[in-house]
């Protein structure tokens, strides 16, 4: 079992300091064909590059495990809230910008490719290509953050904030996305709002949107095309914040809480990734990586793919609600 245990390496306190292999003992002589002295990147407590690489790889996988479970809390909150309050998600989806989300998805996927490619470059000691691929990865990550910034700015501007700060500047039925999908319902909601606001006829409005009551006076019973989308979006009916007139659904702000929390935490991971890639880019430019020592590139790429993985789920969950 002692095939490739190295001979004792002369203790050196400074860790990554290159320590030449010292052949102390004849017992081990026969097993030393490889003659792996401690190279410049082999830490003192590892015997071989393979052992060091495998330890790092297991370590990063365990770290990814913790990342998956770290995000799981948010996915749990999302699922619970979506399961119990689907109307809030229907309501919120009219406010979302699918294009920006899709662009960011593609940007991250490309960066995942370049990260995987960088690993290959490091393994094959292709220094220039390695630096190039890291640079593209960083560029993609920055693009992602810029797009994210504009998205956030938009949301802030429109009052789509988490918690008590949630004051959308537009009602959902005033949005183009809603009007395009449900023109009749939008018109109907508009009419009801005007009636309640300008004529102060709240009880008539309440009667019109409460299907359990008989319709009085001014309104005909609304058609299903008018009513259904509004009910689904929680604008009217039991889920609405104000049951006497069209309004936003109760606690709609929680969607945006979850949205900002999830994308924000993901964004922090992207920023951390940028930092790591910049550091590795500098090291790669110095030519520090090669077939025996490419662990840091490989581990960072794994981390980066996990960040991508989280986004792969966030995108449909937050941007593609039907």
């Amino acid at each position: 079992m002692s095939e490739s245990i190295s001979p004792a390496i002369e203790p050196k306190p400074g860790h990554r300091v290159p320590a030449p292999a010292v052949h102390e003992d004849a017992d081990h002589g026969g097993h030393d064909e490889h003659g792996h002295g401690a190279g410049p990147h082999l830490a003192h407590h590892f015997d071989t590059y393979q052992q060091q690489f495998d330890a790092g790889k297991l370590g990063i996988w365990l770290f990814l495990l913790t990342e998956v479970l770290f995000f799981s809390g948010l996915f749990c909150a999302y699922t619970v809230y979506r399961g119990m309050h689907p109307e809030v998600f229907v309501y919120a989806h009219y406010f979302l910008n699918t294009t920006m989300g899709a662009i960011n998805t593609c940007v991250l996927l490309v960066s995942s490719l370049t990260a995987a490619w960088a690993v290959r470059n490091a393994q094959l000691a292709q220094r220039k290509l390695l630096v190039l691929n890291i640079a593209i990865t960083i560029a993609c990550a920055c693009t992602f953050m810029v797009v994210k910034f504009f998205e956030y700015q938009h949301k802030f501007h429109d009052g789509l904030l988490p918690g008590p700060a949630f004051h959308p500047t537009e009602q959902v039925w005033e949005l183009d996305a809603f009007k395009k999908k449900h023109p009749e319902a939008a018109e109907y909601a508009e009419k009801l709002t005007q009636l309640a606001e300008h004529k102060g006829d709240v009880s008539a409005v309440a009667g019109a949107i409460d299907l359990t009551r008989p319709v009085t006076g001014k309104f005909e019973r609304p058609t299903e095309a008018q009513l259904e989308p509004l009910l689904k979006a929680g604008v009217i009916g039991p889920a609405a914040e104000d049951t006497t007139r069209p309004s936003k659904p109760r606690n709609a702000h929680v969607f945006f809480s979850i949205y900002f929390f999830m994308t924000g935490l993901h964004g922090i991971h992207v920023l951390a990734g940028i930092g790591v890639w910049v550091w590795l880019g500098i090291r790669a430019n110095k030519g520090q990586f090669g077939p025996k020592y490419f662990g840091p590139i490989d581990y960072s790429a794994l981390y980066w793919h996990l960040v991508d993985l989280v986004w792969i789920y966030l995108f449909p969950l937050l941007y593609l609600i039907h």
Binding site: M1, S2, I5, P7, A8, P11, P13, H15, E24, D25, A43, H44, H45, F46, D47, Q51, D54, A55, L58, G59, L62, F63, L65, T66, E67, L69, F70, F71, S72, G73, L74, C76, A77, V80, Y81, H85, P162, G163, P164, A165, R250, N251, H253, V254, S257, I258, F260, F261
Partner: protein, 559 residues
């Protein structure tokens, strides 16, 4: 078993004097930025013991306040803060890092035969994070100490005026410290085993740390995100946990206990590991049922993830979930009992030496059995309705945490103290200390079982006069405990100054750490040891040498 337990590059059984890890480098900075697992472990040990003193001090204040049914020494708000700080410090700063990060950091690589842990920098980072987390937690004390209880339950934690955020953020950081330790240990045990050190030759302490590390890695991230969400809820009112904003406080409890039930196994499983080391050595007998003990640690780690809802039987959790959680909770009694029975069988017909570590191990068996069995009462849903949030629960988890984890920690501390420091403590005083702790423990917490079953609720400042005699008894027990620990601190400190030089192997252990000098050399092993036998084999090949007060290999091996 004819073979000696291991063949190591045996240095003469001398001890300190020449180069060892304590004397290898000098200066404060050589400690603060050391990458040596033993030094990091020593720093962890000092810090954990300091935190333990602080947490114990708060406990004594709480017990003193409870001497009378009304105000004794502090007002009710201060009382709430005191028991919260006691709980938070003891859980996050003492028990969770106590055995793995302090004792384990020093011992595990030695037992394994490795030069260091797999990631020395991460190990150091873990310790630095511990310090930062502890500072955050204590800053809460300076601002306006948190009063939520260590559980940070919403909605109270998101609405109280005390400094919840620093304390919770401290716990968040401490979580990462714990994750890094666990991650490091798993990789170390996978990748740094020397030739011949197969999985089933790992000492049981390593098995226990491995199971613990799995829990640390899988569960701790969830408490991280939970506390983060709670902090954001408190500062930005995002409405995930606060019912006034559409949130769900029961969901918080699910999140919290998904970590915090497995966390009680982060606290107790390493204790099992320590006991598994002490009992065979002081019985001079091979451990009975090694594989069962080893694998039962993994079983406990796994089952521990399936039972978190037993903390929520009366929290508004559904009956369905409660039933499932209750049923699975009973299952945990099986692997736990396997361990206890195997330890007892190991002692059967052994040559039992009642040294201080063994006294702590025997104390552990007693108190842990009581603590474990009362846990089964609480797992029964209908009984729990009566006992929930009473002193019965307080007594139960103190029997397990204090009586189990801390007793084992003390046992391990005494067992490995000669190895850590190269000095022997005064054995007779040590036994007195162990006896005081054992008596104090039972006098403090046994009356609480009675109090609880009679309806005394936990965390109350005032109580009915009929409960006073038992409360006074409990407080007297706490003082006894305090005296026991003070005595221990005193003689351990004294041993550093004037203790006898420790031999290489004072107790006759066969695991690899006893093949290093005391204290171990900077590099642990000059050559990777080649392991040829199990960790508890070959006691018959060791003999006691009175001239050095320690065990040495027999000249002629018994075949």
């Amino acid at each position: 078993m004819a073979a000696p337990s291991t063949t190591v590059d045996v240095v003469a059984p001398r001890s300190s004097g020449s180069d060892n890890y304590l004397t290898h480098d000098k200066g404060v900075l050589s400690w603060i930025f050391t990458l040596d697992h033993k030094r990091i472990g020593v720093m962890y040990l000092c810090s954990v013991l300091t935190a333990f003193a602080l947490g114990g001090f708060f406990a004594l204040l709480v017990r003193t306040e409870l001497l009378t049914p009304q105000r004794t020494i502090m007002d009710h708000d201060t009382y709430n803060q005191m028991f919260t700080l006691h709980g938070a410090i003891m859980v996050f700063l003492v028990i969770i890092p106590g055995i793995p990060a302090a004792l384990g950091n020093i011992i595990m690589p030695l037992q394994l035969g490795a030069k260091d842990v797999a990631f020395p920098r991460l190990n150091l980072a873990s310790y630095h994070l511990w310090i930062v987390g502890a500072l955050f937690m204590l800053s809460s004390l300076a601002i306006n100490a948190v009063d939520t209880g260590w559980t940070f339950y919403t909605p109270y934690s998101t609405t109280t005026s005390t400094a919840v955020v620093p304390a919770a953020f401290g716990a968040f950081i401490l979580g990462f410290s714990s994750i890094f330790t666990g991650l490091n240990f798993i990789v170390t045990m996978h990748k740094l085993r020397p030739p011949g050190m197969t999985w089933f030759r790992l000492p049981l302490f390593c098995w226990a740390l491995y199971s613990t590390a799995l829990i640390q890695v899988l569960a701790t991230p969830v408490i991280g995100i939970t506390l983060l969400m709670m902090i954001v809820e408190r500062t930005l009112h995002i409405g995930i946990f606060d019912p006034m904003l559409g949130g769900d406080p029961v969901l918080f409890q699910h999140f919290f206990w998904f970590y915090s039930h497995p966390a009680v196994y982060i606290m107790i499983v390493p204790a099992f590991g320590v006991i598994g080391e002490i009992i065979p050595v002081f019985s001079r007998k091979r451990i009975f049922g090694y594989k069962f003990i080893a694998v039962s640690s993994l079983a406990i780690a796994f089952l521990g993830f399936l039972v978190w809802g037993h903390h929520m039987f009366v929290s508004g959790q559904s009956v369905l979930a409660g039933t499932i959680f209750s049923a699975i909770t009973f299952l945990i009694a099986i692997p736990t009992a396997i361990k206890v029975f195997n330890w007892i069988t190991t002692m059967y017909k052994g040559v039992i030496h009642l040294d201080t570590p063994m006294l702590y191990a025997l104390a552990f068996l007693w108190v842990f059995t009581i603590g474990g069995l009362t846990g089964i009462f609480l797992a029964v849903m209908s009984v729990d309705v009566h006992l929930h949030d009473t002193y019965f629960v307080v007594a139960h988890f103190h029997y397990v945490m204090m009586g189990g984890a801390i007793t084992a920690f003390m046992g391990g501390l005494h067992y490995w103290w000669p190895k850590f420091t190269g000095k022997m403590y005064e054995e007779k005083v040590g036994r007195v200390g162990a006896a005081l702790v054992f008596v104090g423990l039972n006098v403090t917490f046994f009356p609480q079982f009675i109090l609880g079953s009679r309806g005394m609720p936990r965390r109350y400042y005032n109580y009915l006069p009929e409960f006073q005699p038992l409360h006074v008894l409990s407080t007297l027990g706490a003082y006894t405990l305090g005296i026991g620990f003070l005595l221990t601190a005193f003689y351990l400190y004294k041993s550093l100054k004037s203790g006898k030089t420790a031999p290489m192997n004072p107790w006759g252990g066969a695991t690899l750490e006893w093949h290093c000098s005391s204290p171990p050399p900077y590099y642990n092993f000059h050559k990777p040891p080649v392991v040829t036998a199990g960790p508890y084999d070959g006691y018959e090949n060791l003999m006691y040498d009175e001239t050095i007060s320690g065990y040495v290999p027999r000249k002629e091996k018994i075949v």
